[in-house]
Amino acid sequence: MRAQSFEYQLRHTIPPAPDPEARLKARRAALAEFERVHVRSIEAARPSLGEWLRSLQFNRVALSGVATACVLVIGASLVWLMPASERTIPLQVRFIEREPPPAIEPVLQPVEVPPSVGPPEVQAPDLQPEPLFAFATTLPPPLPADIPAAEEVVVVETARIRQQQVEMHSPTPVLAVESDESSGAVRSDLEAVTITGARVAHRGLLSRKASAGQASGIQRSAEGRDKFQHFETNPVKRVADAPVSTFSVDVDTASYSFVRRQLNDGVLPQVDAVRVEEMINYFDYAWPVPESRQQPFKPTVTVSDSPWSKGKKLIHIGIKGYALPARQQPDVNLVLLLDVSGSMDSPDKLPLAQQSVALLLDSLKPTDTVAIVVYAGAAGEVLSPTPVRNKEKILQALNALQPGGSTAGAEGIRLAYELAERSFRKGGVNRILLATDGDFNVGITDQNELKGYVERQRAKGIFLSVLGFGQGNYRDEMAQTLAQNGNGVAAYIDTLKEAKKVLVQQATGSMFTIAKDVKLQVEFNPTTVAEYRLVGYETRALNREDFNNDKVDAGDVGAGHTVTAIYEITPVGSEAKLIDESRYAGRENAAAPRGTANEYGFLKIRYKLPNGFRSQLLEQPILREAGVPASLEQDVEFSTAVAGFAQILRGGKYTGGLDFEDVIEQARDALGADPNGYRAEFVQLVHEAQKARGM
């Protein structure tokens, strides 16, 4: 028995003195690495644009045969193309105490492309296994490797073997951002660009274009294999040109968790990882719920001044789905589809998934059933549908899982659907929960086939949600697309706390869809509104005609979910207008129908009940004098702070001088009751962003 406390022991256990030899070895290795990083960035900066464009013609051919992973390199001026055999030279340990090399910012540099060069797109052969879910519906078709296109310049470099070794030891490249292995794309409209990055080039998937707003040399995550769909920030639109704005709701929150993780690791997230609406919707707002169940939710509309541009207004549209009391929860038939491939072997992946599921069991009824299917090298049924009252059995099966093998996602999905069908609960919730790090690399031949499959199953009443785990390999877009096609949510789980939020507190929400295909449409009144901008929802935009077309799929709202959309509008006569009047366009102002002068616009919401095929319509005018009810002030202010933060992270194109400081102040004012501490955590996160941007 020990007299001292463990705290005392921890403090007073004295490590053996460091071995001088080991110390020397570490020093040498570190200096070699240092040398490599810096020498490379200097050498890389040398060739002129013209030179590399010429060399590209040659190297592309040479590269196409090299069977190694391809990675993108920084940008036009930082090119270093050499055959792989020569590439090893700077890797040798050859550190000499020498004069400091010229200071070069090795990581991210604004790159300018001279206007005289029409940059061809050069695609490298992507020798990584094909990413699975590059769905043609959302993405441009893949370009053949040898067809130059006009849009961007992508420079490709072959990964060095040693780098790969280092990477292998660092599956979480939190701090190992490699200056020279970032992907870069340069916009043809010649803006200065900050490079964000990914190691794996995939045609179309990674055409990451940075916008002018982020050109200030801000350092961003050049992190590896996490994939995000690229999208442009919604522009300001003139009501006279496009009076109607249509989009689908989005209750996903994956973006927020991902951004949080990056910021907590001390780096700013990639621009495309920041989806404003998902950041906003991460938080719960007290939008009023309808009195009767006939209607799953009712819209709340508020009008307030824009904190980041004088003379503009913000219109909040909030909806909150009614929450089901526990005893009314329908029967649940849940099939867990767990990725147990080798890449899940990390505490924040499979073990976290296991713990998360254990949490979920507590919120289910004893008669609900859970089945477990795993997929890795081969797919297999681990647990046939088992009532939750045999919780021990479920936990046992769950905890016995070990990661190993490569990933074959498709087989697992089919098996999971088979099980779900076997134990189908009529009138209940039949859902597959897919937990993965998104590494669906092996065994899929036809991407669209799988997507179609998920859609067909949805028609049968079996829905799919995707829980993303881990970092470095996460395929956000895949998760989004699958969940969208399967009528589910995609959530990114980085901590057990997040698992609790998503799975337990929102268990009723994520699992019990109360309205599906929810679409919003706002028609602005040209006599009162000059311009408008939808904040976020870029990836959810719909065509005007899609609104009334029930065949067009849209997002779902679950029990207790809140969805918030924010428009920024410029009232007619405001100085803040960005777009000039058209010289020739007629003035439609006179034509406005009577009695609408007090309206900014008109809101329409379409939704279907969970088992319905025909959509219902909700309508209400957006009144100029709507204001913000006192009970909602803090929610409006907090959501505005989050929107401001997300926009700054995306480059702050429309937020003027708004800074992290302002966001912090605003959010602090609006913490409200904050029972789970999520809002306080947000404030902390903004501080992290401030730090990450630094200097």
């Binding site: 570490a26 030891h169 190992a176 072997d345």
Partner: protein
């Protein structure tokens, strides 16, 4: 070392000055190594982790922003390397021999054994517990600092500290009760 010379050193190293970087490594190797040793309780492993950390430092130093304190940032880096290292170890374990025997290489051998047991217990208590214990108790950082390093709130750290204390109390009571 004072803040001024240190930040000057960091800036020079960030600018590509190898001598400055070497000096930086020399200055911090001990901190890195000692922390790694307490993290894993094993000399050779700690040396491995320390070396990985130094290598990683070379690549990611440019990311360091002067607003954070360098040592906090360094702890973050070492923890990340240590976890990577552990993952790599676990991967190898699948097809290699079972866990290596607990080594006795602390200044006092019984300390090592106790530390090894303690680390194991902390690991079992949950993710982040061991790191919390090391930062707070071994390195003497405040809860707020530890929170910043581990990317969680101060209250989470306080809570973890409390949980660990409670757990150890129960354990010690069991042991001294002769059960």
């Amino acid at each position: 070392m004072d803040d001024q010379p240190l930040s000057g050193l960091i800036r020079r190293a960030q600018g590509g000055d190898g001598t400055a970087f070497a000096e930086l490594v020399d200055l911090h190797y001990d901190t890195i190594y000692r922390f790694a040793w307490k993290w894993c309780g094993h000399r050779a492993n700690a040396e491995d982790i320390a070396q990985q950390s130094c290598i990683k430092l070379a690549g990611s130093l440019v990311q360091f922003r002067m607003q954070a304190t360098f040592t906090s940032w360094l702890y973050q880096l070492v923890i990340s390397c240590a976890r990577d290292w552990q993952r790599a170890q676990q991967r190898h374990e699948h097809d290699a021999l079972p866990e290596n025997e607990p080594p006795a290489d602390a200044a006092r051998p019984e300390d090592s054994i106790y530390l090894a047991q303690l680390l194991e217990q902390l690991d079992e208590l949950g993710e982040g517990m061991k790191e919390t214990a090391l930062l707070v108790h071994a390195e003497g950082l405040s809860h707020a600092e530890a929170g910043r390093i581990l990317g969680v709130s101060e209250s989470t750290i306080s809570w973890r500290v409390h949980v660990m204390r409670r757990h150890m109390n129960t354990r010690e009571a069991l042991i001294s009760g002769g059960v």
